[in-house]
Amino acid sequence: MFTLPEAPLKRLPCERRSCYSKNMKASIIVFPGTNREKDMAMALERVSGRKPQLVWHKETDLGAPDLIVLPGGFSYGDYLRCGAMAAHSPIMREVIDRAAKGTRVLGVCNGFQMLIETRLLPGALLRNKTLKFICRQTNLRCENGETEFTRKLGKGSVIRVPVAHGEGNYFANGEILRELESEQRIAFRYCDERGETGSSANPNGSTANIAGIFNKRKTILGMMPHPENAVLTHHDNDSGLKLFEGIVEALA
């Protein structure tokens, strides 16, 4: 029988767990080709102490979640426009319906692409300017700290969150951009470590360095970067934690 090397002497302190919550119920929608549902579930469980429900896209009953999450991946292979097929799947009608009634929705990466394709959020997501898939750490500046999603971050704070996408180049025309800006609907901009939003900090060519946006009522957040990959000790970076803590606190 193979025995493992001697047990370690020292353990890291347990992952810091927030004390509020237990109450927030989250549903993560899983489409064929979704692949970051586990990452998102680990992040939400760490912060809320409660396992989110994974809902297969062919189901029509969402349950009664406080938060609906559209996670990252390549739904339907992204062979059409990214997120386009998922936007027309049966469960999406239910998501749109709930969103209209005010249920909070978080869409990350492929999930953001779906929110754009369903027109729950404006603009378009184009191929990265480099025409290549990019996986790297980026810095994000919080542009509006007055929402349920960003209340623990505060305006102007900088968090470090990785991107991993081929089509995350956010495009908005002048009219949409003005609207987003005047309504404080820009959630995050790509920036450098000091919070400067120069073009060298923009990984994919997004208009005005935009990394994430809200709907008018600030009940829906769509973003390309993956805060769920910046919450656990072994990620060597837990700066996505405050985003999830804010959501859990608000929805508890």
Partner: protein, 766 residues
Amino acid sequence: MTAAPAKNHEAPAIREPDVTPELAAEYGLSREEYEHIVRILSREPSHTELGIFSVMWSEHCSYKSSRIHLKKLPTQAPWVIQGPGENAGVIDIGDNQAAIFKMESHNHPSFIEPYQGAATGVGGIMRDVFTMGARPIANLNALRFGEPSHPKTRHLVSGVVAGIAGYGNCMGVPTVGGETQFHPSYNGNILVNAMTIGLADQDAIYYSRGAKPDMPVVYVGSKTGRDGIHGATMASAEFGDGNEENRPTVQVGDPFTEKLLLEACLELMETDAIVCIQDMGAAGLTSSTVEIADKGEIGVTLELDKVPQRERMMTPYELMLSESQERMLMVLEPGKEHIAEAIFKKWDLDFAVIGYTTVERRLKLTMYGKEWCDIPVPPLVNDAPVYDRPTCAYQKAEAIDDAAYAALPPSNSPLFKEEGRKRSDASAIDSLAVLIACPDMADKRWIWEQYDSLVMGESVFTPGITGTQNGKAADAALIRVSSDKALATASDCNPRYCKADPFEGGKQAVAESYRNISAVGATPLAVTNNLNFGNPEKPHIMAQFVGCIEGMAASCQALDYPVISGNVSLYNETAGTAILPTPVIGGVGLIPDWSKAMDIAFKNADDAILLIGGTGTHLGQSLFLKEVYGKEIGLPPRVDLDRERKHGEFIRALIDGMLVNACHDISDGGLLCTIAEMAIAGNMGADLRVEPGNNPVAFWFGEDQARYVVTAPMSDVIVAQAKEANIPCTVLGHTKAGSLRLADGGAIDIEKLRTLHTSWLPDFMR
């Protein structure tokens, strides 16, 4: 789009070519092999049967040139659950968990069609792993391209990397490590070796063995088309010029379907419906069916009309030889077909019962109301030819006099251009500037940034030394497999060493893998290998092959680091020019507490920098001679396996005892390159000196084995422990902010070093 058997029952007017020894030769069968087939069948084979024999007896499927030598590799250890012979090897990693892994080549297809060739290589190896019930948790790739100035190199790098990224990213399996090298010997024959590690419970591993008679044979996944026919035969022949004509034999990958196939298979594996399972890789339906029949000591009858087909009027020959991707063959418990069918329907995949197992050990195929094939299975498998190909006394490289290179050369350093310095000012730093920016050592961010190394959320160490995707840089990638444990993995080979001395080169590849795993603090457990060589019918190539295997065997034995799976790729030649012998090792180790794992970055100013394992003396086949003098000469450094093991154990004890705060093994480029990488990773310089009485060039750039660099706030304990263990250990200097400075002259800013290191590849690909 599911489960509907093909409807073209009407027999098309199939005109099969006449079977002759000449046609057999075209399919890669020798005259003797053809005559043996006739003896087995007691008649001339049909065209379908000839096709089946030709792929089963191809080098790719039968290992006919390599088999007798592969037996020399040690494959056993108490923690090995499954050695070579299944889809992948399996090791025990405690707590009822198993790590399942293998590496496989897709060299020829990737040269012909880089994107699809590389993509389907990645898809194929992942299928090998999840066929066994494991969820893939990490991918690696070992790439070798021609010299940068060759007109095809850029196009090949670009296509191969995009293909790997396209497939792996979509599958949601992180690509966490690998290596990329350039050498003119790969100009006409690149190497694309892909490795996948999967995780399973030990009591839920699936094998291709175990089928009994009278059970349903089930086909799942994509439909079968006409792509990839005779791919295995193509992979078993030398390249001439104009192989682009072979493009139609390269398969097309669909990672989305494979993702569905993965999820569906894992879901079905949670029931007890599957008896045995085999993916359809090389030689597709043929090899998977024969494998299941042979291992179960049964026969199989397939009703080929029922195979889901993408194109009309396909022939039995085409169906049996197609290498369409994303397909699986399984034998189910009778009566449980509906369970499987429901799951595959849920995932929108094709599902069809296409035949049944039989007592009589024959492979029978029917279609269009006719029988097309009736072959006895045992001789199809067991009579596959085995060759003891002749070797010759190998002409090793000549030894060089290291002392002849004791003076620092007036070099081609980029620093001279910038600063207008006199050539007589040359220091070791100038040679460092050349090495750190050379194609083999330069930062490969342009490549790994296209790979998602973070998906699944368990990655701890990811590729590169600066600007890494998960923050830290290390000698091996590290992936958590539970809240505490993590697997360390790396791929290694120095082909120049292998050419100069195959035995020592083979030894070294395993030893370096052992070092990389040890340097993060993990215990090396087992390896997979991917043996890439030229034409085995040439005695000196065969001598390289045998030498490398014997060297690897010696290392694996001495280091308790068995080979549990692997792949052989021969005939890597174009127009008579062979590649460098390239036996790539993919190593896996385990660390019980990932939070103790060690990275390479310098941490604080004034930490002691210690050299463990001895000073550098050996310059033969070094990267220094190659890049600074343009010479690939000398014998490679000798690997002392006792020292290798002892030093590795010492390093792991230091890391486990939390006595060091950075660790990096010394390999290509020697000591100074190792320290430079630690400096770049930590954005922290150092003050260093040469131990008196040493040849300074060999001291800084020699590639002597079994050595590591560590840093520590307090060096006394380490020095004392090393002395007690009789392991050479010296303090080289201390970390210091800003620049890397040598006491005998020469200094460079860390920022400048970083720029040199990170510029080459993006400039080249621009």
